[in-house]
Amino acid sequence: MDFAFPPHAEAFRTEVREFLAANITPETLDVSDGTIHDWDLHQKMAAKGWLSGAVPEELIPPDLGGGDRDLLEMAVLIEELQLAGAPADGLGVAVCVASMVLELGNDFLKETVAGPLLRGEVLASFGYSEPESGSDVAAAQTKAARDGDHWVINGQKMWTTLAHEAAFVILLTRTNAEVPKHKGLTMFLVPLDAPGIEIQPVWTMGTERSNATFYDDVRIGDEWRIGEVDGGWAVMKAALKYERGIAGGQFPSAPLLDAAITYCRTTTDADGRLLIDDPTVREQLVRARIDIEVCRGFAYKTAWMAAQGDFFGVEGSMTKLFASESYKQHAHWILDLMGPEGLLQHGADAAPLGGSIEEHWRHAPVTTIYGGTSQITRNLVAEQHLGLPRARR
């Protein structure tokens, strides 16, 4: 075995680190407006070709450029972005949606959607979840009704994060209510400036802003459809594989632990002793560090599998489950060792490290929900990894 990235990927790591050192400022990291995306950083990365670099080479149209980064390099990019705590939600969704469009979309969508996404000009948003269907995404009820060569869309999506910054939403709709739920779905790219769309903010405990989006007689041409009519589920499943190039969320704890160590090296307890010298604190910091190294093992394995061309569904799920659940626990441990000062938030003068640890603590719970709850993920692991029967659930 060899856990070292190849030299070209390590060289790229150096390039990424230099880029981040030069371009990540306190303002970049300040996401107090709730949007985990920074246009300036995003566009600079696009200009570097890193967005199109993440798309499989064979999908890249010649006029677009890019596709010249391999999957190991993209794994390095993602790792470095996470270690730096960079707000890069936009990168993930842009690359994933662009890849889907390039594989399954028509020429109109490739030109109208994929190009601008990969050039960093626009963002997209996922429109899968609905108020009544979260984990059970195939139960979507937002209707798309055919009207000649147009479609009329009515319904509501929930958790359309970034929609308020995005040009497009990739929308899972019901086109046939007479068949089993997975078989009556159709996917569209929908321009968010179409008449009849309303975007309402959904504020969260973690300060992140998400959105509810409402679709009232939204009329779009058939050219905005991606995949077959009633073939939306297949598009969703195909889309999953593009997460391999841009899989994030493996290192949520890394910047948190960095902050904790800084805090413990500079803060004394009631007896005047540095927290970093407290054996109970030391054990927890080490435990968190070990978990992060476990995440690294998972991350490198999934990156390598992707680079080998292997689909890594269940491995990705295991990575996500371990990383998010341990992150939530680390955030508790670390906030706890701060005592009442840990409660102070960004904006309070005395907030340690600008309240960043407290922000982690509020952010962490959502990571065991979005992208598949821990419960859904355990079902998958039980069935796909352990070969247990479909649960009586």
Binding site: V202, T204, D336, P340, L343, P365
Partner: protein
Amino acid sequence: MQLALTPDERAVQDVFVAFFTNESPPEIVRAAEPLGFDAELWAKLAATGAPSMALPESVGGGGADLAALAVVVEEAGRTLAPVPLIEHAIALRLAHAADLDATTLAAIASSNRIAAIALRPAVGGTAGLVPAGAVADVILVLDGTDLVLAEVPAPAHAPANTAAAPLADRPLGGAKVLATGAKAARLIARARAEWFALTATEAAAMGRQVLQLGVDYVMERTQFGVPVGSFQAVQHGLADASVRIEGATLLAQRAVWALDADRPEANELAAMAHLFCCDAAQQAAAASMQFHGGYGYAEEYDVQLYYRRVKGRMLLPGSPGSQYQALADDLLGPVSGGAS
């Protein structure tokens, strides 16, 4: 042995179930953020006599024991009422125990002023992050070996904090010494224990309520064609949390009883109850939030209000780690530094 509420306590409970349900609905709780204080609600509560109910009648209080106060605290906790009931009530009791002159005590207890105790000793003439310090005009705190009382206007502003708690640093300029030395230490230890036991009560009540929000949600929410609450993994997560909340409630009750009965183990039980109840409430809040799916994380749902406040109850006296070590000193004796 008598492990149910007395008829009198049930009567108190009936009154305050109604009071807090009506007067402290989630809209009031939200509107009181970020300070975590609603002056109107406090005035209404003061009008019921609850804040001074656990002072002797001889000094104008209600003559109730901590157990009766705990009944009120439970309802305040259940509804996250933005009032410094525990801090004020305990501070009054401490001032009385420290023989504060009756006139001054009555002035604090009977007016709309608010008292609070600092859970940690003052450092450099300032009491740091005093619970209810943002709204209290009177602060009782250990300063060196003295128990002192500082009267200065409340800042009415709290540093932004995740628990929406009205905490604040309070300088002690011109404080009055109430007790010194061993007596001061004993008095503050007792007051801290009372705060621990009542905050444990409050945290357990918060935990019970946030768990109920989770139970209600999973009964109502369907996914895959069935109620989310019919999934065994969801049931087991909620069941584990509820067992801890039941155990927490019993431990808090026992701590309150032990304080009222002046049992020798009272202070230890109170510190244990605080740690266990806050921890159980955190687990209940976490389970409830998780089984709410994304909605648990949305500001418009109430579960996140509990999630944040419960953490405040745990951390206000110091890190849990430091609380465990303090308890270890009581239960195991101090670190000897010796070898066998």
